[in-house]
Amino acid sequence: MAFLELSGIQKRFGETSAVIDFNLAAERGEFVSFLGPSGCGKTTTLRMIAGFEQPTAGTVAVDGKDITRRAPNQRNVGMVFQSYALFPNMTVAGNVGFGLRVRKQPKDRVAKRVTELLELIHLPDKADRYPYQLSGGQQQRVALARALAIEPQVLLLDEPLSALDAKIRVILRNEIRAIQRSLGITTVYVTHDQEEALSLSDRIVVMSEGRIEQIGSPFEVYNFPATSFVASFVGTLNVMTARVAGAAEGRLVMDGQPIRAARPVTIAPDGANVTIAFRPEMLSMGEAGANRLRGTVQDVTFLGSIVRIRVHLASGATVVSVDTFNDPNLTVPEAGAEVTISFPPEAVLVLEAPPAATAEDLIAEA
């Protein structure tokens, strides 16, 4: 039996459905991320686990116990708020010890635990500071320590790093993960940043408009997106329409040019349209791969360690991004240059059939 179990969760606010049929079973000690764009229901789901919202339907269970109807202060679930929500009238020690004090723990035990936690978050000398005297990153750490002080069964974090700058974000997310590992605490981490989710999680729940699009390890979600939404939200920039030419052999026609997928197409018959995706880093300039496409360079962008080249395919309707590692010996084509890009059949991911092929699609392909 899973440690944290959400079954058939629904949440409606009047007419809007914020969460629709949400099912998740997280193991003890697992780090699960909810990943999705703003407004897709991540916070609402988290708040239902914490007890701040009541699900319209479904149950929340922790360690086999149904806690759906329990008040927030009767659950043992620690939450780190997006805004930190530190109490401004208390020092760092006061904030961290709050949960223990309201549980009537003896003073010396509270003090000892506060000291331990401040060590854990690397702020041992900040016990007497007030929140306003701390930087954003320090406040974030204190919020984490405060949530951990009560030894919760589940730790919830709602976009905990979104207010911090990029460098500190990376440092802190690694710290959060290290602390989570050392305590072995079951954790749900909400983020809209795919890189954060990919780098931290044991499993990622990708959400869109209140629904789960896919649950899987970072590897699965990145390499084998289940839907075109996942493919485009988790890193892939090239999501396009192709026509099935030979389903059994994985033959497709895209932009009037034939390509091959590594596996047979099972979701649509010959002649039907499907959505396909391939990642920029799987493509290369030149003729090395089995699939080749001709096109014209639209523009070239330096992104630090990689260079992104966008190529108009022959018909002009489709733009494909190609990522190559930056390297001083690289010869970068100029905008307007005629190029060939190539990629192996394994790079081609055949996703669901698009809603309905439009007339323009068919004309463009003909």
């Binding site: 007890g51 927030p72 620690g78 929500a85």
Partner: protein, 293 residues
């Protein structure tokens, strides 16, 4: 310094140190004028007046007379009325404001209530006294009703005056404390609950300490508001109730007793009481606000 440097356009030569504060003092001028015109000059006028007898001779006699039973009891009554209405208005005003904000009243009702409070907090003097008399006076609208309940209210008493003052103290409190209550973040309550706190513990350890400086400040304001009120009391009691503002009126404008010097000394006493309460307030607030910038 920041103001001066932010006014310097990028690329412009750095201002020389000597010129930095060049015109900064201009900003202070309105404040100085205001303080002089509305605070220092009147106080100085009162002070000189209070140190002269009716023939213009310098004397401390006016201050000595403040200990006469009649005048001393005016202070006692003023302080009592101000305290009772400040604390009473403070508590009930706070509760109403909290109920309105936390109770999830529709926006338009809330706005209507705030507007009403804005008007009602200025409802004082002759109109209030008349309204009060028509409602609870000897032949007032509600008088038979409360009589039938076995309550008698002497409209010339301190209790009646306190009740009348509540008509502006209460809405004034609602008006001033509402923004402070609005400032309590939902996150704080949720974080407290999340850590296992009961609603009482949240109030005891988080909300109340955060509101305390504002509560202290507004209560002092209500105290001063009641202490300085004159017209309502004068109209309501026909000038018979013995509070400081009416005692001053009597000394300066009265036919029976008339000694402006004593009136000025009485007023100086008020200034001192206000100064002490403001001083006490700043001290308390500084302690209550340690956690603020």
């Amino acid at each position: 310094m920041t103001a001066a440097s932010s006014l310097t356009a990028p690329g412009a030569p750095a201002a020389r140190p000597g010129r930095r504060f060049g015109f900064a003092w201009i900003g202070v001028v309105p404040f100085v004028l205001f303080a002089a015109g509305f605070l220092v000059l009147p106080t100085a006028y009162l002070l000189t007046g209070s140190l002269q007898d009716t023939h213009g001779q310098v004397t401390l006699q006016n201050y000595a007379r403040l200990s006469e039973p009649n005048l001393a009891s005016a202070y006692a009554a003023s302080i009592e009325i101000s305290l009772v209405t400040a604390v009473g208005g403070g508590i009930f005003g706070f509760l109403l404001a909290y109920a309105v904000i936390a109770g999830g009243l529709p926006r338009f009702l809330r706005n209507a209530l705030m507007t009403f409070c804005g008007v009602a907090s200025n409802f004082a003097g002759v109109p209030l006294a008349l309204a009060f008399t028509f409602t609870l006076g000897a032949s007032g609208l509600l008088t038979p009703l409360i009589k039938s309940l076995g309550i008698t209210l002497n409209i010339y008493s301190k209790t009646a005056l306190e009740l009348a003052y509540m008509y502006f103290q209460f809405p004034l409190m609602v008006l001033i404390i509402a923004p402070a209550i609005d400032g309590l973040r939902r996150d704080w309550r949720e974080a407290a609950e999340n850590m296992g706190a009961t609603s009482f513990q949240y109030w005891r350890y988080v909300a109340f300490p955060i509101l305390l400086p504002s509560l202290l400040g507004t209560t002092i304001l209500l105290f001063g508001n009641a202490f300085g009120a004159q017209a309502t009391a004068y109209e309501l009691s026909g000038g018979t109730i013995n509070i400081v503002t009416i005692a001053i009126t009597r000394q300066i404008r009265g036919d029976v007793v008339n000694d402006p010097g004593v009136g000025y000394a009485l007023a100086m006493g008020m200034v001192v009481i206000m100064a002490v309460s403001i001083g006490a307030y700043s001290l308390l607030q500084r302690r209550a606000e340690r956690w603020r910038r």
